[in-house]
Symmetry: C2
Subunit: 236 residues, 2 copies
């Protein structure tokens, strides 16, 4: 089974949804056969590579109320994150571009498969939401990526060029084609879509459903009486 | 889309079914995305590596009527083959083991993918049913395989050992697990089974059905109101 998750590194509900899916997977009997691939989504493509404000400041500016108003808007998501064991400091997160982080996530998938990519995704989310690191900064990205197990020279080479930018764009286009208007957006075996940080129970139900369908009895088509050859000879 | 076809090199309905499937594929809009993999099936595992009789002689011996009786049994399948443009001389085909041919078909798949394997499968069927060649003979197999594009040294090395014998056995076991009692047996996307040389119309229907299911609209699970982040911000 394959779960593709469209997600952004700066999306709080994506990190919360990750924990809820992990909770569902923890008690799912088929978990060894579940492969998770992280897909790129840019919530805020106009966010700068060099930060000029925090998310709280940005929200306060956009919706009014200043930095205090922005912090209040973040309070609820921080409270929900805490219920999942995530001690966000999202009020202090920087508003930054995530395209470079996504390019490195593609490098991780290509060079180390879903396992390496999964480690990097977790590390980037933790860096952004808990450590309030600047995940657009190339030195920061390289440090996080190398700690997750990527090759530093390859990471630096990707960051110095626009490698994987087309893969990031392709992911964003595909999300739209699949009907995703926001993230997290989960696609199970290209069959089921799940929008938003749903409860572990919703994830568990879909996992079980998809699992049963991935191990089907064949549906025999066209009847069993067409000419064929068998152990007792051919229909000749 | 992936079509796996369990088939034997000495199975007349398999060759006829191949033409019927090809007819259906010829007018199928998604044909560029269809991959065909040939799986091994041994109709007559006790057939000798060194031939001692023709198929007509074998049938006459088994069902009575001698070689003439055997030939009459083959008449119908030759007539149906002719309708598909196949000028069988099956009455003169030798009763031989096909395990070595199947081992080389596995080599073709592993080294050259479905395209090379497909060329070899067609060549082996033509050699057996039209040229009445001995497809158990190693020199004959090597000549056919090399003409199809395989590397002669690798073919000879496989024939000199029991390489891929386990793969042949695994295919045979899998056919039984999927419910196939004879061949040709077609499995489309591990979802639909088709038993026997069905008509092009049956194949066309299954191709269309499987195609639509391989390009699904996602089934959105759990409702659309879970917390998420979108272009206008996060639900915070």
């Amino acid at each position: 089974m394959r779960i593709e998750i469209w997600s952004d590194v700066v999306c709080p509900w994506c990190y919360i949804g990750k924990r809820r899916l992990e909770k569902a997977l923890g008690s799912f009997p088929g978990k060894e056969d579940v492969e998770i691939v992280w897909r790129s989504f840019q919530l805020d493509p106009s966010a700068p590579a060099i930060p000029v404000e925090t998310v709280a400041e940005s929200l306060g500016r956009k919706y009014g109320g200043g930095v205090e108003g922005g912090k209040q808007m973040i309070d609820r998501v921080e409270a929900v994150a805490a219920e999942e064991g995530l001690l966000f400091r999202h009020h202090a997160s920087l508003r930054v571009s995530t395209v470079d982080a996504h390019r490195v996530l593609h490098l991780a998938l290509e060079t180390g498969g879903p396992e390496l990519q999964g480690r990097l995704k977790e590390a980037l989310l933790a860096a952004y939401f808990i450590e309030t690191e600047n995940v657009a900064d190339h030195d920061t990205l390289a440090r996080i990526a190398v700690a997750a197990g990527l090759d530093e020279a390859r990471v630096r080479a990707v960051l110095a060029t626009d490698e994987y930018a087309d893969a990031v764009e392709a992911d964003v286009r595909e999300a739209a084609a699949l009907g995703a208007t926001g993230v997290p957006f989960y696609v199970v075996d290209r069959k089921y879509g799940i929008s938003g940080a749903q409860s572990p129970e919703v994830f568990a139900d879909v996992l079980e459903k998809a699992w049963n369908e991935a191990h089907p009895k064949l549906d025999l088509v066209g009847g069993g009486d067409a000419d064929a050859c068998g152990p007792d000879g051919c229909a000749i």
